[in-house]
Symmetry: C2
Subunit: 193 residues, 2 copies
């Protein structure tokens, strides 16, 4: 499947698998040391031409989305799950995903901070519009019960109301049994945007 | 410096550098394809012996901390910054860190969700005690202004009050100019812990 992806995305998919193996490997120290040398050599090769700063700071248009480096949705960012955000005509957004070993907090469970990160993103996505970004003003999270790793999860968010530059959004993460974390937030369009 | 680290930590340091290069590389598609093949081969080698599930779910004591896989502080987790949490005798905690391209949200800035993740962790750390974990009940974040990537940052958290199983904690992320994000949260010790 990954062979059909753009080349930079395929690289991120491979590094995402490597992250999981790095956390979970139990091979000998000798194999680890050899692996590390190979990784350092690949990093050198990739670093032969490196954009200055971060992905979003590039000012060239090479057809890659500006959010490709984003820590939540960036297809070029191996640390991103990455979430695929779906938008409905009523302004609500949703995404389905599964989180692995790289997102652990309490044993076998999603870190509460990862749930916060995902909810910040999906609630913000209700307010965000192309060319008119929205920034988080406040965000309140309520943890109902723990969220499991390696189980299908879903995040939903929708707009409660809009007043001037402010969008009031609510949302939740749920598993097969119901809601695990809920959130409400205020997102702000800067007046000059 | 990394040569003096335990071997699994050194591997994570190398993969962390690879993540940054993966996001920022501008080498040719041919070099990318070759890099990807090498990475897939390393992943196979590391996967020859893989712990089932996630790091925290291991039941063996091999001298590695149970939080080594943690997405915020885990030294074996390449996706973690990883934060080093310092504890003061008055119960407050603090950490100093710099976030790179892998943590981007708005162009050149830390994703608001990453700030939420870090504050969830450091506020929770005020309540967390060895053998007596604390879980987030509620967390409220207030974003004062944007937080920059590639600049020294600091997170602080302290206990406001404790009532039975509940710890009320507050905290903030700051840069050289002052506070960028502040937070308050309620953390709960399960009664059976």
């Amino acid at each position: 499947m990954t062979d059909s992806l753009p080349v930079y995305e395929s690289l991120a998919v491979s590094v995402r698998r490597l992250i999981d193996a790095t956390i979970r490997t139990e091979v000998s120290h000798e194999v680890i040391a050899a692996a590390r040398a190979k990784i350092d050599s690949v990093t050198s090769e990739l670093s032969a031409e490196l954009m200055p700063g971060t992905f979003g700071e590039r000012r060239i248009d090479d057809g890659q989305g500006v959010a490709s480096g984003n820590v939540v949705i960036g297809v070029r960012n191996p640390s991103a799950p990455p979430l695929v955000i779906h938008r409905e005509s009523d302004g609500s957004v949703w995404t389905e995903f599964t989180l692995g070993a790289a997102f652990e907090g309490p044993m076998g469970h999603v870190h509460g901070g990862v749930s916060a990160m995902i909810l910040d993103h999906v609630l913000g996505a209700t307010a965000h519009q192309p060319g008119r970004p929205a920034y988080t003003g406040t965000l309140t999270l309520r943890y109902h019960r723990r969220t499991q790793l390696r189980q299908p999860l879903r995040a939903d968010a929708w707009i409660e109301s809009q007043q001037g530059v402010k969008t009031f959004a609510v949302g939740q993460i749920s598993d097969g049994e119901g809601v695990t974390v809920s959130a409400e937030g205020v997102f702000i369009h800067p007046r000059n945007s």
